[in-house]
Symmetry: C2
């Protein structure tokens, strides 16, 4: 948690942007049951609530009056009987003070507060709920007219949250330091016969020891080409590549997100190294051309050009390189965008909607196949944190689909591409801060050249 | 997952018990969002669905027709586009076959199936939902008249699930083996200066490497007297006791649950050993007197008598021991029950309601302070798995409350008790199977005598 002043200033800025628009209602998260009501997953506070009200405690709701700038914290104090089982617990009013809020009230008062405001013709602004429990609560107390997510609130929150302060960057760097330990541990465990679950469990243990836990369900797979792959059922085999896409949350819930791809046998084959070095070049190129004022969709395309050029060199792509990029040929090999914003969420503010976070009026979402897969397209600004994660995959089902549809036959040498059907995939992901003058990678850079990665594997460590 | 025949037999038995009562609707769990819709906690299937339909896959609903015995699996197949990102995926009909179900249908058909049944005057039976998403779904498709949990369904499910089969016991023993590794690792890390979070993270890493993860949020605390204590914020200090209450789920989701209490400095003090040995005696006594046909509330009271007797020996309790137990004096020192059933849930079937799982018509829940805290009171039967977890705590707030209320002043030597206010708490928990002839502890028994525990700590390991 930051100082009370930080939260006061954040709420003041929000009230200012929303001035005269009524009440902003920000529900914190409750407990999330696993298999019965009293057995809950590790509590994770809602990121918007954390940003404006800072308290990592379940069952709270923050309300901001945009006319007066006054904030109220709603929550219920523990009973004496609760305290016997839980030990001494702070009162809601004491929690409120920690984040500079002077007014607090029991949860039951929230309903009347909202009813009174709407009776006086004032509007209610909420974010879209992503948990069933929050949705049930909002549907009960917020009039139907105000149940749609508030675009004004979303745009105000994005404008604040997408520029990270120095204290936020320091927290993200803590998460990056945990990510460094996780990935180097994974590399050091990487050898034939080890189960993917062994590595996934070991690195998640690191995330739990050092911070809140993983920032998302780790991808630890020899099927790097399967982008939505959450299985850890495989056992590492000689000659394969292990893709690990994993990050941590610091105890403050700020996130990191890194991907590395490691040869199970400790050495890349020539064929693997050729592809790997193309992805590495695309990663380094993206970092080099990024900076304040640059549109991220242009970085994506520029990085995609490096990939297409590399594949051209290997004879997998034919014809004019710029024309191939313009036709979106890279989407066959990298069917995802270059990156996303990162902060209190690993995909920062993804619950607000991509059109507000990754795009804006100046840079709307494109339907062009060359850049339609990007989560983030808009101009970079100082203080933004984005991931840089080019990849190169051979997805048998996608290759078959394109070939069947005769897509880009003038650019793709399908016969040659099909000699890579058992290749898998490679992705290399770093976390980048946009500065006033350029960019800076966050955290110590993980081993990334083939030599560095080979030196970090189990085979090399003996 | 067990064989298809196992699930066929379980459903047949359920249909038989519920014969002629209409449709049983068992929703599996969906994904549970952490901080935005696409970032979910580790998927955990609903235990009732797992028991009858066995599939560890989100988004399914099982329906059993109690007249015909016919089961239907509702779920949606992945699209070709999904499969490009997820790799080859089984069809719902293929999943159904794995658990002996021959009929399957898209989720959209569930609503009409229920509507058709109720139109023909048939009843719908559901369990009480514990997740907001499930509740929203059921409220949408099940008529109000059938939204209350079905007592007939609950009682039928309890009658099946509370007797574990040999293949279930084998899975619980896998979970116990993981728990053994977790607890011995915790003991080996226990020394001054180590953070509770270090130990909690390390043992959770073991649970994730070896199985699904922890069966509940681990208690790793020097405040053992705080029963509902989920904080891992402390740093281990010389002279304190560390209480670790933690268990694992095997990949099949069968659970274990153990508690051990370890001296941070590697050696129990005389005062600590005196209390510890009382708890150990209560644990061993409870295991000895348990067996088929014995009411667990009687085991609780018999074990409580060992604790009161021990405290009498130390001068903390005065007067007649049996009268003190009858007056519920042990509830000051052990304000919880002796144990609970364990299986696919660590508190097995807790979502069904304690009155059905821990009690029954023969043994209803007691309001007598001597046994009102028990989750489980009814007669043990062969195949049941229960935890045995006596404890002895000095809860300052509870002692102050009793003293202020002048409770049991003829039995409690409050002045003496107050010399233990900084003691903390001790709990020792094992997992026990009730056999045809007696009981058997599940898993290799963790170090439990003071000598065994001391030998397993960091101090002794160097």
């Amino acid at each position: 948690m930051f100082s009370a002043q930080t939260y006061v200033e954040r709420r003041q800025a929000l009230a200012h942007r929303m001035e005269g628009r009524g009440l902003v209602v920000l529900p914190g998260n409750g407990e999330s049951p696993i298999n019965y009501p009293n057995n809950a997953y590790r509590f994770r506070q809602d990121s918007t609530f954390l940003y404006y009200f800072g308290l990592d405690v379940p069952g709270l709701v923050g309300v901001l009056d945009t006319d007066t700038g006054e904030a109220t914290l709603f929550g219920d104090d523990f009973t004496v009987d609760d305290i016997i089982w839980m030990g001494p617990q702070p009162k809601i009013a004491e929690l409120a003070v920690k984040v500079g809020v002077t007014k607090s009230a029991p949860i039951a008062r929230l309903e009347t507060t909202i009813a009174e405001a709407t009776a006086r013709g004032r509007a209610i602004h909420i974010m879209k709920p992503y948990r069933g429990e929050t949705r049930l609560m909002l549907e009960r107390i917020v009039p139907d007219a105000f149940l749609a997510p508030s675009e004004a609130l979303i745009m105000a929150a994005v404008a604040q949250r997408d520029k990270k302060s120095a204290e936020e960057i320091a927290e993200i760097e803590k998460a990056c330091a945990i990510g460094y330990k996780m990935h180097t541990l994974a590399m050091s465990m990487c050898r034939p016969g080890v189960r993917e679950q062994d590595i996934a469990g070991a690195i998640e243990g690191v995330a739990l020891r050092e911070g809140w836990g993983t920032s998302f369900h780790s991808i630890v797979s020899q099927h790097g080409e399967t982008l939505h792959n959450h299985s850890h059922a495989g056992t590492l085999q000689e000659g394969r590549l292990l893709l690990v896409d994993a990050g941590a949350e610091a105890n403050s819930n700020y996130c990191s997100d890194f991907t590395r791809t490691t040869p199970v046998s400790g050495k890349f084959t020539t064929k693997q190294k050729e592809i790997y070095d193309i992805v590495l070049a695309a990663n380094n190129h993206a970092i080099k051309v990024s900076g304040p004022g640059v549109r991220y969709v242009d970085v994506h395309l520029s990085s995609a050009r490096v990939i297409v050029e590399g594949l051209h060199g290997l004879g997998l792509v034919m014809g004019d390189i710029d024309a191939a990029v313009a036709a979106g040929v890279h989407a066959l090999f990298m069917p995802h965008g270059l990156g996303h914003q990162m902060g209190l969420d690993v995909h920062d503010m993804e619950n607000y909607g991509e059109q507000y976070v990754g795009y804006n009026a100046e840079t709307p979402r494109s339907t062009d196949p060359a850049c339609s897969t990007c989560r983030m397209g808009r101009r970079l600004e100082p203080g933004m944190v984005v991931t840089v994660e080019p990849g190169l995959y051979f997805v048998p089902e996608l290759i078959a689909k394109w070939r069947a549809e005769k897509r880009a036959t003038e650019f793709v040498n399908y016969d040659r591409v099909e000699t890579y059907l058992d290749f898998g995939g490679i992705r290399l992901e770093d976390d980048m801060l946009v500065t006033e003058t350029g960019t800076r990678l966050l955290g110590k850079r993980l081993p990334i050249t083939t030599e560095e990665v080979e030196a970090a594997t189990a085979a090399s460590l003996g």
